[in-house]
Subunit: 302 residues, 4 copies
């Protein structure tokens, strides 16, 4: 495995820096694009890593999977009244579909859906971001995971489109808390800094029937773990989910920090990271690395 | 397996007839809703069946997978210039997205996408429907498979929305042949009559790395078979693909005739059939049967 | 004229109470639907009135014309960089077009457009609502005109859809001030209470080449007055502007308080009021009264 | 008047050739852009003209007003069940709104609306294009008006988008005749060749309460003439109707051949022509000439 990882790393390395680092907030725009890391964590607890796999980065939308997991633990099936499970076919921050579908977002991984999930967690936890931080530290086994407050503040300063979505949902009766409060929790969660190794570990429960070997807890049920994977498979990669299923064939979730998490059910959790993005917002080198891995190892679930 | 099939059949039987038979053309509206069959075909050649599994029905959109397969065999990767691979997030016969995306349909399983695929096959085969019929007879091992000409004619008579899509794509330069010719081939393919047993057999190559044990041919490559499964997983169930992935977790393709085909990669191909449809156009009892199977056997790929 | 007014009043009276009083906020829902008034004010200063023409009501969207006038006085042609002049073809509070057109509202009379105009006035006036109140008192000659603070507060409490629009424009760089501040000014302006007589007088400058005979001031230039009338003619009546032009043929502006103002260029300003609305949000009896007037007097400008 | 015409002609002449001749069909693309003519016809029968006012050109969408007039003469108010009277807010050949509004076009001047009107005339006349030709020859007093068959054929060859609209309406039950037949009539009407003088004369009935002084017939009633003018005022200038009302203030109808007809109710009918178009499809020099006229003479109806 380690040999294979080295081969893939060398093959894909030339793509490092190709694409464009997210620049909608200054704090993200200053990241060095020439970074690239891979970490693989097996259900048996073996860790394989290469490149900048220990460097923390802004997890951004990858946090949506953690938020969803926390909400599923608490709300169970009832939560699907407020958010759908269908792919959206539109940019991740579109208001059009939200308008046509009366404030019910299509799935938990578009921004509107993640905001509704955050609203649920806001209703449940005294401090949703504290709960989230504690959760990711526990399931990754890394008590040092921190939030980049500068990124969180900067996201909040440029919150307007997300605020528009939240207010539109509030006008449709699908938002319980104050918009500003939920936005602050949401941005703080996006601003968590974790490394490939942290994320590969933290996501292992999804490859392992809902069980986290690190914290030794059943995070969610086996059925729920499959459901989260199904949602990632159909909606986890912005407007490239179909292409990713076609080329890679694994449930995955990306973030504009350049990280991508992927799950090989029953076997591995993977995290790749490289900050330069393609035009739909996924890491160029990251997607290429996962395609290469899938081709070499035949990991497609399909 | 046979015992399990009996149990599922009994559990789901009460749903038979719930929902509404497709009635947009008279020839489909007259089908008896109280029919229900299941067939499972294993990669080893074992066949399990129950209920009306030998009764032929109109395969309708299930034919889109066969058309896609024929096009992939001939055009390879070039075909993806003309049709996308992303879920659509809109009804299967919507013109809105086609307009916004300049005549490039989102995937091969919405109507517009299937029309483009049919246009490709029209350019390639002297008689596309003859080629298709011969193909499905061969891979199902049933030389008796026929086209319901009354259904084909009736679909053609009510062709207007599909004609609108085809003309819109032609105005965008994404349609090579005469609209009327392609529509006739397309409707003839939809009007093929096959049973659950026929379809379970004909789809087995997708569970078996592209190889058909019946005709003993490599229909498409292993990689291509996975790609077709990935497309079914993200876009095969109309506007319920996400829900189906969440609940069933298998690549699937449905038709308004009430049939649903599903693939357990590496193991089985399945066909369920019951004519009464839910509001997005999928068989009510069919979806329930696959949910029950998935729950009892843990077949989800995720 | 007075005789004609009596005839029209009697003809249309049976429609009084037909339709539905605006009920999106409690303060408006409690208005008695069985009220109906008409006032006509001539360029020579003659006033004709009938029914409840002296009863103050919530002017709501009619205030958008006053806001536009104040902005035009200050910004001149530059303002049209930030708001268009085309009819919208969608509901007055739709976010869809705003999204597709990158935060530039189609015209000053849809909500998004009026919010941009309010944002302009917010940048200009220390207290935009004070400036507005003073303006309408002056041009109507009625120093007693007041704001219904309960309505303003209630609108603010249910501000969410308007807040969504404002934030969407802010995310597109088309909003200068704090969203909350502008919303407060905007709702206060909508909550002004004026009678038919007040409004007929206050709108006379649009029938009179921009000159107000009451305050004896050139409010805007003759050309600008025609331009405001043109905007009312193409976009003043929600999604019924075309129908209103077809049936009535006068520039008009309606509000969900049940008021409608119309202009006979060179001759008269008219205000009709009856609180029960048709399904696009215009006063049922009000539209009927103006149709009847137009038919009897041949006032259509076309 | 003639002196004024000369002045406007000289002022606007430098704009002649600015913009881009319609090039979606070869027959239109070859027109010399350096042509410019104006004709004004008064209700008293006086004719003023300058420049290339006697040169015939392809009237294109201006024919939609003639088709509407013929349909109104026959169908009266019933026709408004099948086509709306509201501005569209979208490009003239958009399918989006048609889809959302279930095949009922927003007004008779977008392509979908004109196709429905043509379908009405197809149901009524043995030869709709013959009826149309005879009508325009009669009301213009020019028996030499001809159809450019090469343009008609070329439009038909590139009919695909219009065919898509017609089929979409047919799928919604709002189209009675064969799509191909109606398209042929429709394109033949668009391909009529008339000069500025012809059109100024032919449109005079709309300035003259429905009465044509040339053929000495009441073409439509005074009320209907006002209604046609109202439709032109709100929807006659593609996606520039609001701007045209704002700047010119007259009912107008343009065509991609570069002609624009405008009405000064009670006084004049005007036709300007110059083939080079702005980006929404209206003649650059034509719009400028009408703006200049309106400014110099104060013709705005508002």
């Amino acid at each position: 495995m380690q040999a294979l990882l080295s081969k893939i790393f060398e093959d894909v390395k030339p793509l490092m820096g190709k694409g464009k680092v997210a620049d909608y907030i200054p704090a993200l725009a200053s990241v060095d694009p020439n970074q690239f890391g891979i970490a693989i964590f097996s259900n048996e607890g073996d860790l394989y890593q290469i490149g900048d796999a220990d460097t923390p980065f802004s997890i951004q939308s990858i946090s949506k999977v953690f938020s969803l997991t926390l909400a599923m633990k608490h709300y169970g099936k009832d939560m699907w009244q407020r958010v759908g499970r269908e792919p959206s076919g539109l940019p991740f921050n579109s208001l059009v579909q939200l308008e046509y579908e009366h404030g019910i977002p299509r799935n938990p991984f578009i921004n509107a859906g993640a905001l509704v999930i955050s609203d649920m967690n806001q209703s449940r936890f005294a401090s949703p971001h504290y709960a989230m931080s504690e959760f990711v530290r526990r399931i990754s086994g890394n008590p040092e995971i921190k939030t980049d407050l500068q990124v969180a503040d900067s996201e909040y300063e440029f919150r307007h489109r997300n605020a528009a979505m939240a207010y539109l949902m509030k006008s449709n009766g699908n938002f319980e808390n104050e918009v500003e409060d939920v936005l602050k929790s949401y941005f703080a969660n996006c601003a968590l800094r974790m490394s490939c190794v942290d994320l590969a570990k933290a996501f292992n429960f999804l490859a392992n029937k809902g069980y986290c070997t690190i914290s030794q807890e059943q995070v969610i049920s086996e059925e729920e773990a499959r459901q989260v994977n199904a949602l990632m498979a159909t909606s986890g990669m912005y407007d490239e989910a179909g292409h990713f299923a076609f080329q890679v064939g694994l449930p995955g979730k990306s973030g504009v920090g350049g990280g991508i998490v992927a799950i090989v059910p029953g076997r591995f959790s993977i995290c790749v990271w490289s900050p330069a993005l393609n035009k739909v917002g996924n890491s160029c080198a990251g997607v290429a690395a996962l395609e290469s891995m899938s081709k070499h190892i035949g990991w497609s679930v399909y």
